[in-house]
């Protein structure tokens, strides 16, 4: 797959269709890939990589990149294409300035999951028929491949590319995923249990803003949390209120626009399951206002920008779930 991608990219660079490529660059170890822009065939040959660890969603960089001169080639996994479509709908990217090649998606691995098993000194990792064989400074380690999956890949919702100019590999289908299972589990806990769960998780937050900065839906030029005039600009989570508030507000601002790409949870340095907040909104929207998948198309109105005269009342919150 990596070979095919590099070759096609080189072709498109050579015939002038695009003048740069956005992809992933090799790092020091097997798992630290960095999104990067490649401008020459040589750079592609020596540094481009596409493997089990290229989980990063590059659509966000296209917001800035599509404003530059010339066309850029972007390799998008199925989940990334939803983000791109949503960005097109919101006029944050210029569709014509991007040449999209759809590539097969995951599952992708997360080095943090490997390290959580106590495996350290990681020098290399290979999939051997369902077992991940890891070469370390302290000898060889093994673990089930599926336990190293990135959280977002554990409940993949779709292998279908919703936007592309061409495909490498096959297109897939929308899947029946279990991504709302944990949300449902929380909904069925008592309010006190939920409160305790979220206090434990959100008290870890260090306000590093990685979740906000990596999110393709958060593209405001001046974020409300960076604006001293908004009244909520705070660099640090001074107390429990601020820890809660940042996440409630951020989840609300992306509600209906979040494509559930899972990047927020992947990048959180404290392993807070932020995707649960966003999935809660998606689940509510699906059940109250009709199934909606952000990024599926570029013309439908987002649920919070829309209404029906017979929408349910807010009191429905009292009738659902567990108190």
């Amino acid at each position: 797959m990596q070979e095919a991608m590099i070759n096609r990219a080189k072709q498109l660079l050579a015939d002038g269709t695009v003048n740069r490529v956005i992809g992933w660059k090799r790092g020091e170890f097997v798992y630290d890939v960095t999104p990067a822009i490649f401008e020459t065939a040589e750079e592609l040959d020596t540094e481009f990589v596409y493997d089990d660890f290229t989980a990063a969603n590059v659509s966000k960089y296209l917001v800035k990149e599509c404003k530059k001169e010339g066309k850029i080639l972007a390799f998008l996994k199925p989940c990334d294409t939803y983000s791109f479509n949503q960005l097109t709908k919101e006029h944050r990217v210029v569709r014509d300035n991007v040449y999209i090649i759809g590539i097969p998606g995951g599952p992708k691995l997360d080095a943090e999951k490997i390290k959580a098993k106590g495996i350290t000194g990681i020098l290399g990792a290979k999939n051997d028929n369902g077992t991940l064989v890891i070469e370390t400074l302290y000898g060889e380690e093994k673990m089930p491949y599926y336990e190293a999956l990135s959280t977002k890949c554990e409940s993949c919702k779709s292998k279908k590319h919703v936007v592309y100019d061409e495909l490498i590999g096959e297109d897939g289908d929308v899947l029946d995923s279990d991504r709302f299972d944990m949300v449902e589990k929380l909904e069925n806990m008592s309010a006190q249990e939920r409160y305790d769960f979220w206090r434990e998780q959100l008290s870890k937050c260090i306000r590093c803003n990685a979740c906000r900065n990596v999110c393709p839906a958060c593209t405001c030029e001046k974020c409300v949390f960076d604006n001293p005039d908004s009244g909520v600009e705070n660099k640090a989570p001074a107390d429990s209120f601020e820890e809660n508030m940042f996440h409630i507000i951020r989840a609300f601002h992306v509600a209906g626009r979040c494509t559930d790409c899972g990047e927020c949870s992947r990048v959180c340095p404290q392993n807070i399951p932020l995707h649960l907040l966003n999935r809660k909104f998606i689940k509510d929207i699906n059940s109250l206002y009709g199934n909606y998948q952000a990024g599926e198309d570029t013309t439908s109105r987002a649920p919070l920008n829309d209404y029906k005269t017979d929408d349910c009342e807010a009191s429905i919150v009292h009738e659902r779930g567990v108190e």
Binding site: G231, A238, D239, I248, L277, D284, Y289, D311, A314, S315
Partner: protein
């Protein structure tokens, strides 16, 4: 949090009222000498959809124990469709607050028209009672703002 002469907890209620319907409704309840608790602090907004989720959180941060939004009945919004957006927005917000474990009875949306003075007073009485039962807001409180 305040206490009355009986040393009982008195909740602080913030009511966002839209100028055209619910604020006029509040006026009417006053003209008709219908009592509603002094715990309720009304903030007048041009339309219920002016209310940003951040306002609600900020009200809780600054000491409110309950927040209620009042607006025109759906279909009768002075600006035609504002309250439809309010309805969707607040349903999702309250659902999220519930998800985080914040007590459901602390928040409410009520549609009160300019002619419903009695409904306004009754709603405020009922809501204040409900919040009083829950006790002071501790889960969405900002300790720095608590009066010592």
């Amino acid at each position: 949090m305040q206490v009355n002469e009986n040393k009982e907890f008195e909740p602080l209620i913030v009511a966002f009222c839209c100028n055209w319907c619910s604020y006029a409704g509040a006026d009417l309840s006053g003209t008709n000498r219908l009592n509603y608790p002094t715990n309720v602090k009304i903030i007048r907004v041009p339309c219920s959809c002016r209310v940003n989720p951040m306002f609600i959180l900020r009200a809780f941060q600054r000491g409110a124990d309950g927040v209620i939004l009042c607006g025109c009945h759906p279909g009768d919004c002075h600006y035609t469709s504002g309250n439809y957006f309010t309805r969707r927005r607040m349903t999702l917000l309250f659902s999220m607050l519930d998800f985080l474990g914040i007590e459901r009875d602390r928040t409410r949306v009520e549609w009160v028209s300019a002619a419903e003075g009695a409904k306004f007073a009754a709603t405020m009485n009922e809501f204040t009672e409900a919040v009083k039962k829950l006790g002071p807001n501790r889960r969405l409180e900002d300790l720095r703002c608590r009066k010592q």
